[in-house]
């Protein structure tokens, strides 16, 4: 049942690092995180791994396994051949802290720039009435566990740090879509989606959808409909007329000031 797997694990910090070779025991039914834990407990006590729930629910153990962005806790060893060498590296888009752990603070900065849920102030807690069919769209996006694999994969910022300022990445464009589709939200984030969060950079290659461990249809259900809404706003005759006679008929909600 058990065998020894060959692992090449990236060890190092922001300054320097390299792949280190290990032989680690693997048992039936195990996932990559189990094997990394065994490596940590027996051969490399100080191996830095970020993880929490080991159940695919917290989105902490994001890394690249044979080049593919994955959650280590949800990647079964059985999908690899027993004689296959596994190369395990940190997420490439984010700066390395140590070994497999990266600095994902970029994501928290973007999150803070998006105007929060804005209900009609006259609706008191307990008075919200929404139909299941209307909340279902936002609910799909709220399945997001913030593993940032989509952010890591998106070619707009992967290897293009210069785009990190104008582009929020799929996770946060999806957050805007979630709020825009929330039946009780009254703010309008369509203009800032385009102008401040870089929706136009997305050319719908669907890489984000492909790596999402929650199987959220990020591109089809969030980004494309958001693009349609943005275009809809631009060609809305009332908005056009409003801009001509310089009286705003649609109140755009501004981006929240922040670092980047």
């Amino acid at each position: 049942m058990s065998y020894k797997a060959a692992l090449r694990v990236w060890r190092g910090d922001l300054g320097a690092g390299d792949l280190a070779d290990y032989q680690v025991e693997v048992n039936e039914g195990e996932v990559v995180l189990d094997v990394l834990h065994r490596l940590q407990a027996t051969q490399a006590n100080d191996l830095a791994i970020r993880w929490n729930c080991k159940a695919g629910k917290c989105g902490s153990c994001s890394m690249e396994i044979n080049g593919r962005p994955r959650l280590a806790c949800m990647t079964r060893m059985s999908i690899f051949g027993e004689d296959e060498t596994l190369t395990i590296t940190p997420m490439r888009t984010f700066p390395v802290i140590r070994d497999l752990v990266t600095d994902v603070s970029f994501n928290y900065e973007k999150a803070r720039q998006i105007p929060s849920f804005t209900p009609d102030p006259s609706v008191k807690p307990g008075e919200f009435r929404m139909q299941q069919v209307d909340v279902q769209r936002s609910q799909e996006f709220r399945k997001c566990i913030e593993c940032y694999l989509c952010q890591n994969t998106c070619h707009v910022i992967r290897d293009h740090p210069e785009n990190e300022r104008p582009f929020a990445g799929p996770r946060f464009l999806m957050r805007i879509a979630e709020l825009e589709m929330h039946p009780a939200d009254v703010a309008d984030r369509r203009e800032i989606a385009q102008e401040d969060f870089g929706l136009g950079y997305c050319n719908i290659t669907k890489c984000c959808t492909e790596v999402c461990p929650e199987n959220i249809k990020i591109t089809d259900n969030a980004l494309i409909p958001l693009k349609e809404r943005v275009v809809g706003r631009k060609y809305d005759p009332l908005v056009w007329l409003g801009s001509k006679i310089s009286r705003r008929t649609h109140k755009d909600t501004p981006k929240v000031p922040g670092k980047s």
Binding site: N52, K57, C58, K124, P125, F128
Partner: protein
Amino acid sequence: MTDSERGDIQRLSYDVVVIGAGGSGLRAAIEARLAGKKTAIISKSLFGKAHTVMAEGGAAAAMGNVNSRDNWQVHFRDTMRGGKFLNSWRMAEVHAKEAPDRVWELEAWGAVFDRTKDGKISQRNFGGHEYPRLAHVGDRTGLEMIRTLQQKVVALQQQDAIEHGDAEAMIKVFAETTITRLIKDDGRIAGAFGYVRETGNFILFEAPAVILATGGIGKSFKVTSNSWEYTGDGHALALLTGATVLNMEFVQFHPTGMVWPLSVKGLLVTESVRGDGGVLRNSEGKRFMFDYVPDVFRAQYAETEEEGDRWYTDPDHNRRPPELLPRDEVARSINSEVKAGRGSPHGGVFLDIASRRPAEEILRKLPSMYHQFKELADVDITKEPMEVGPTCHYMMGGVEVDPDSQAALVPGLFAVGEASGGMHGSNRLGGNSLSDLLVFGRRAGAGAAEYVDGLAGARPAANAVAVNEAVAEALAPLERTGGENPYEVHTALQQTMNDLVGIIRQEEEIKAALAELEKLRERAAQVSVAGGRAYNPGWHLALDLRNMLLVCYCIAQAALERQESRGGHTRDDYPAMSPTWRKVNLVCSLADGRVGLRQQPLVPIREDLLALFDRDELKKYLTEQELPPAAGAAAVPPASDTNSPAAQ
């Protein structure tokens, strides 16, 4: 390492420091910030990753959206029954009364719950709850809660960015930071000391009020549904600071954890599977739970499969199926079936929803469970039964607190959520945890803010000697050489607790566990760690061992002392529940570094709350002297209550 490097400590000043960024910590921090207090949130993980994300079923609140007969009194009754009347009745009362407002508030902050047909928040059935009561989002309610609270913190920071020009002026999250010691000044809380994971650098929060919201202790057991963070930090910090913890013998084993593959043994299978129609069967295909309905619950549970099945559609005229008994009952029953040789191939029992509900409904209501089994065990739960068995899930015991403000015995110290004790008595009902976090999170935040206001200008100062000791303690495992590896000690500790102080206990085994803990204590004191201070998990584990050991001593000592079976504490050698023992809490404290234990009488239940129950039901739990007078009978004078139950 030079002395200056050792002593290089970042010092920050706050009004309120919240340790833990799960549901209770975030709710407490929000309340403290709303009260105008400069608040720090300290999290062992990244912001938004706390263990609360693993909660699946829902938050119990008697909103009455699905069955309008529900109200706080019914919820209170269910909670007390679930806890076998050992609960702090005041906490159970406050919880039942305030939970609906806390859930509605969450919705106003952006939570998107599942809906009823008339557009209200939907509520689902759960073990021990008389009516459908759990507000939920599929089977990922905890994630919804943590994300909503996280986004509320962000919303407050956005306000502060506009008002103060700095988003972090009034509320700041210190992610991947661990507190190892609380610092006192003249008996009062003065601060919290710890390290930052990324760099290994030390940090001192100077603050007059600290809220422990650190969650549970599951990582002391081998088979657990808990994440790595659950090392009992709050329980241990409270003990080390001179506060008390109680009810530590009551550890909840959730009846349904995965049992196969070994890699995921213990991983939670939500109670919603049973709430939504799933049933438990043994290897003979029998729904064995009908054989395990205890006397105290007989009146409320179905006697035939037909009646149980009818209950899902007609709850007013049928009684609920026994698969929905409180968790302690179901976990013990599964354990007995397996011991009797009627278990599943991998040592559990079968949980079957495939034959009971259409595939489409299972996928819609239990999407996470479907994926969990499909991806981790190659089992399609819409086609075949799951194999499940008990897993260490929740600590009922925790810091002894004032039921209204969550204040611990040390001035300035507060505790909330799983880190606090009393609310759930000897056994927590599913769904009562998420609501507990919200209700008492808010109260702890308010309690801490009020305490800080009461200090006026007289704020305590962190004692420099204590800070130096904390530095030395934290560095010790790195400075020792040639010692044992901390992972080995941790594995041995988990095995000991699992084998000797697990779901079914007996005197000889608990004594053996205590002897083993002595050896583990010596081993833990000698561990040494390779590598440096930057993001070194070996070092972190070495420091966590102290906390886990303290918690395990409390569990084992209390389990040995309580000679009865109740809720999450089952003694093979004392199988009955004793009304005399019901009047007693076991309280642990630390003296000279050793855990001590004493018996403390419970406050008698307030008369109007007692009146919510039938006298016949109360008879099953209370001593004759505690019972309200029978109708028509003369009042019985209260008997003297000085005898120790242990002596009887």
